[in-house]
């Protein structure tokens, strides 16, 4: 085996960087879509909205029981066909790999976040609701100002852990021929033959980002534990 040569990494840094930027933007977008949609899905179940609650339960159950990579395939290959049917001319309507990735990750994460938030909603102390009732707060104000902020605080370590998993899962976009951090490294490695260096550096990048996020989880846990002591 040849000696390691990390100069290759320095040379290919711009390409790796663009891959990392893609991974991070996909994570951020999926987080944003997932949290907003996930909160809505959780509330629909929490309030037992007729019919809709059943639909949401089915959706969450399906998404959570199939691998993300399959959901990506579905969206990439099936949605254009369905859109083709709907548009009437029968020809598949391509929706593009990047669009597929953002939408799929957002919808996929929404199912996971909604479960976290749903459990969090059930954990809110009954006394909090009674205090809101006694103060004549509307249901909207109760959830907007009292219940959801507490749920998000309590669930923040779990939500962040899920987001770390999401960040690592973004590497699956290679099946859509998109170039994320891992994809960039893998393409470079095949071009220049420096597999060990490339994969090592990428592993370190994932490690650094994920462990920094894990540190945040620990800080959040601690802060929350302090806030509820007594």
């Amino acid at each position: 085996m040849n000696t390691l040569d990390f100069s290759i990494v320095a040379q290919s840094w711009p390409y790796l960087w663009s891959g990392l930027v893609f991974s991070l933007s996909l994570t951020a977008a999926a987080f944003a879509i997932g949290m907003v949609l996930g909160t809505c899905l959780a509330l629909v179940q929490h309030f037992e909205v007729p019919v809709l609650a059943q639909v949401v339960r089915g959706y969450v159950a399906v998404i959570r029981s199939i691998p993300l990579i399959l959901v990506l395939f579905w969206f990439f290959f099936l949605v254009p066909i369905v859109l083709g049917y709907l548009s009437g001319n029968g020809r598949p309507v391509p929706i593009g790999a990047t669009f597929t990735a953002f939408i799929t990750f957002g919808l996929f994460e929404a199912a996971y976040y909604s479960e976290i938030i749903r459990v969090g909603l059930r954990a809110v102390n009954k006394g909090q609701f009674e205090a809101c009732q006694a103060l004549a707060l509307s249901t909207y104000d109760t959830y907007r100002h009292i219940v959801l902020p507490q749920v998000l605080r309590v669930a923040s370590p779990i939500i962040l852990s899920q987001t770390i998993i999401l960040f690592q899962d973004t590497s699956l976009v290679y099946v859509l021929s998109l170039t994320d951090l891992l994809g960039a490294a893998s393409k470079l490695a095949q071009l220049n033959g420096r597999l060990v260096e490339m994969y090592l550096v990428v592993a370190l990048a994932y490690l650094a980002i994920s462990s920094a996020a894990s540190q945040c989880v620990a800080i959040l846990r601690k802060r929350y534990a302090l806030a509820t002591s007594r």
Binding site: N125, G127, Q128, E130, A131, Q133, A134, L135, A136, L137, S138, D141, H145, I146, P149, Q150, R153, L226, A227, T228, S229, R230
Partner: protein, 255 residues
Amino acid sequence: MPQETVSGTAQAAPIVVVENVTKRFGAFTALNDVNLRVGKGEKIVLCGPSGSGKSTLIRCINHIEKHDGGRIVVDGVELSHRLADINSVRCEVGMVFQSFNLFPHLTVAENCMLAPMKVRGISQAEARARALGLLRKVRIQDQADKYPAQLSGGQQQRVAIARALCMQPKIMLFDEPTSALDPEMVKEVLDTMVELAKDGMTMVCVTHEMGFAREVADRVIFMDRGCILEEADPETFFRAPRSERAKGFLNQIIH
């Protein structure tokens, strides 16, 4: 009817009228045909063994529990199942809970400001001024920007009283406000309540603090098994309870 002789004011201007109210939890009857009139400015202490329905009764007055039968009229508004009626009643009825139920993610001042701003529609500046004024009244203004978890139990309960008062209610309900407190903190909360009573607030208190009852109560009401068994002025009640159950109860709490 004993209340007519004890409290003429209650008849003159009742602010709370409870008529033939029944409440069931499944097969358990928590309130069985309860009648109560509370006059403006009157202070009532509800006592009785646990499970006697006293907490359920005051929770029905602001519709945190829904009564199954009978009529409840608060400040001229009958509690129906219309949300508008319920909320207009709740605006006039402050409640203090055994477990404080402060909002842990908001500061003391924010706890006091939220409902006046959202429900009464006052400005943030006005809400803050009102909150600080009432926090000063319960002698806790220097803690205004702390979080509830940083306060002692007694301080938290005083914040809860201030929070309820910020809505400028006409009636205050207290549901065992000192039961969850360490003994040395009971007095500071009771002192606050006594002060409130002297200001003329209409108060209905579920409590076993007999010193408090003697000091401020116009009437003591003894409940057992969902019924009002006795009502009398505190001196009469403590000196000469009529029912055997009240005698037994008083023996247990006054060692």
